[in-house]
Symmetry: C2
Subunit: 129 residues, 2 copies
DNA sequence: CAGGATCCAAGCCGATACTG
DNA sequence: CAGTATCGGCTTGGATCCTG
């Protein structure tokens, strides 16, 4: 990501495309929460939904399907009544936990600074509109 | 997201709202690219745009304004003709480079696996439509 | 219990044209 | 050079109802 060794005129799109792809997959509203919910082990559909407050059935289904499609989550269906479906992180999915945790630590440390900056910014533009 | 203490609970989930906030700020289409473009030092508006292929003036302006608002980037205007405006990462912005780089490394390593998983998934659903 | 289907509002984002 | 203004398509995501 850092490009100290690259001239400032060259486009860096190709360098960042990988990150952009990952963020397009992981950066939506619910994916990280679902991955976090599954970090402790396999879980059933409704258990995930209860664990994550406020996610709709539609979005949980879409998010899980996307994660399954990219090989981050496995879906195991038991043909019993009532039906039971377990979701679990794959090795690939668990490998994402590291980077996410790093980001999580950054967020915990700096979210206060970001909110203060935002407040100060709004105050500044309020003085000089 | 209110979490009752479940046996399965991990520290990740209890505060993953913070990660969601960070991703809401950083997970959009252009933010990471702009931060990456600025990782080498201060840059002018048009230089950033040239560096990042395909970003529109509108989105570059909006992205920079958002980053400035959250204290990740400073905007310095020189009242000369022709006008000159420099953008530069703040300490807070530079501190984000670490987590982003980690994510970048993960992306580089695993994007192949993700694309293969996706291809295999499409193939699987093509067999059983 | 685990979704599928449908509708709809809010936003993101690109393209284009214009300005100091 | 460094933006602002406006329009319009496309996507995102929530709410609601329905099914095996």
């Amino acid at each position: 990501m850092t490009n100290k060794n690259v001239s400032n005129d060259e486009p860096i799109l190709s360098d960042c495309q990988a990150v952009a792809d990952v963020l397009a997959r992981v950066g939506d509203k619910w994916t990280v929460m679902v991955v976090g919910a599954l970090s402790g082990g396999a879980m059933r559909y409704n258990a995930i939904q209860r664990r994550i407050g406020g996610i709709s059935q539609r979005m949980l289904t879409l998010t899980l399907k996307g994660l399954e499609q990219d090989g981050l989550v496995t879906r195991t269906m038991y043909t019993v009544i009532p039906p039971r479906v377990d979701y679990e992180l794959t090795d690939l999915g668990r490998s994402l936990l590291g980077p996410i945790t790093i980001l999580f630590d950054w967020a915990k440390i700096h979210q206060g600074a970001m909110h203060m900056a935002r407040a100060k910014f709004r105050e500044a533009v309020a003085i000089v509109p």
